[in-house]
Symmetry: C2
Subunit: 319 residues, 2 copies
Amino acid sequence: MTVLERFHQKDRAALSRIISFIENREDGYITLLSKIYPQSGTAYKIGITGPPGAGKSTLVDKMAAIYLKEGIRIGIIAVDPSSPFTGGALLGDRIRMQDLSDKGDVFIRSMATRGSGGGLAEATREVALALDAFGFDIILIETVGVGQVELDIAGLCDTTIVVLVPESGDSVQTLKAGLMEIAHIFAVNKADREGSGRIVAELKMMLDGRLKYRNDGWHFPVVKTEAINNIGIEKLIDDVSAHRRFIFDRHSKDDYRFNKIGAELKLIMQQRLQSRLIPELLDDKTVGNYVNLIIEGKTDPYSITDELVSKMMLKRIEI
Amino acid sequence: MTVLERFHQKDRAALSRIISFIENREDGYITLLSKIYPQSGTAYKIGITGPPGAGKSTLVDKMAAIYLKEGIRIGIIAVDPSSPFTGGALLGDRIRMQDLSDKGDVFIRSMATRGSGGGLAEATREVALALDAFGFDIILIETVGVGQVELDIAGLCDTTIVVLVPESGDSVQTLKAGLMEIAHIFAVNKADREGSGRIVAELKMMLDGRLKYRNDGWHFPVVKTEAINNIGIEKLIDDVSAHRRFIFDRHSKDDYRFNKIGAELKLIMQQRLQSRLIPELLDDKTVGNYVNLIIEGKTDPYSITDELVSKMMLKRIEI
């Protein structure tokens, strides 16, 4: 039996193998993605992001535990876009969810950076696709921080939770720009610590400001949690459910899916152009030749790229 | 006389006009960039980044003042990638460098976000090109934080300074992944405050760790500054000079320029594909047709993009 056949028969080892295949960009992985794509489209994706030390992993674990009790199958992707110099161990070091991970209804995968940030968001989307196609009902995607990778990942989630802690203080200011764009729900974790009232108030004030610019009618909940003591998690899950209902009240399920697939298609195209077309168009030798022409003053980067792009567009129209 | 002619005659009003033209992506701006490109290539670009409130603007202003005394012409670009919801005012509010900005040898431009992050890094590169072609010797590019925009901008600078403050504490942990990739020099500003010794020690420890992974021989300086009191700025400038000499000791000036132009060409190509080819390839109607085919199960996003990219590559080879 092929790995793909075993995948379709819900063999977890086959799922692991397929995820590694995707992560490592092995030959034929695009064909593989095409083959599993038709089975995908039913999982609900929840993004959980925030600064390091905010307790995201614990929160994710506790959320997963509640979902599992309700018979919901949970996939978890923990993404760590840290530098190869300093990071990675963050996820590798910890043995998490020991009481959960041996059950059949949960699957946990850590992903660390490998080269470009764009590549990591791309790989995360593809791994989420595999979990979706495998049959998980909810996929929890945990990321650190609010850099471009996190923004890209948030874009593929249906609901995004931003986790902060009372100590964040300045961080709220630091992060707020990015946060405001991506969050649907805020969790103030470690809410037993000093300052949790202040940060909740600050967030609410900020959110009131934001509401003026949006008119979709979603009122961003700010939930106090103590993940480690299992406090506030059910409220958080209720808010996720409320957001899910909100989405499907406003859009028919078909419309929502139509728009999501459209956005996804553009994103995939963009990522593929970057990872495939540019290395092909601009291999080292070609770049060297162009640079020499530029240094000789015979052309410039803007004329070159303009010409290349125009030619490609022209050719495409003739196809 | 055309604006371009006046630009070449060092008319500052023409420079302002041309920068606005570029920033607003007015028709023909690519042609304009081609025309000014041959005059560029001599300016040395210094990136200054770090969290909000670290005192970057003051540091930039004090550095500029010293350079100006030495007769060096200074262009300053202050980039604020904040959200349109929350940011922007940061730069607009303050009236800075009042004692400098009326002199002919300094030019300051603030740039705030307008849509996509990628677009901002692209526009910053182009504005830096205009300042370079206009004849500024050094361009100081100030950015907030260490998101993707800042990483992209750092990539176009020759020397990048990361500014922290004693209070950063946790932030060092938060930011370090990104920081380690882009910094050549660290400035611990507001060094009179408590904790400056600790953060300097932390940074040095981290940098020792990094050295193991690099062997270019550059020893990252950590400089204590009090920008507001004009303390440590000359040391910082000396370190920038040392890094500049280091670059040109290791590479011939020609090699360095060759590599920089090559990297720039790839970046421009990438940004142009994103801003021009994708909207052209995937307009709303085309996307809608594809999505319907996907929903009907006749194809999937991976097959579509694979086919599009393959066709473009094939056609290009035939050109």
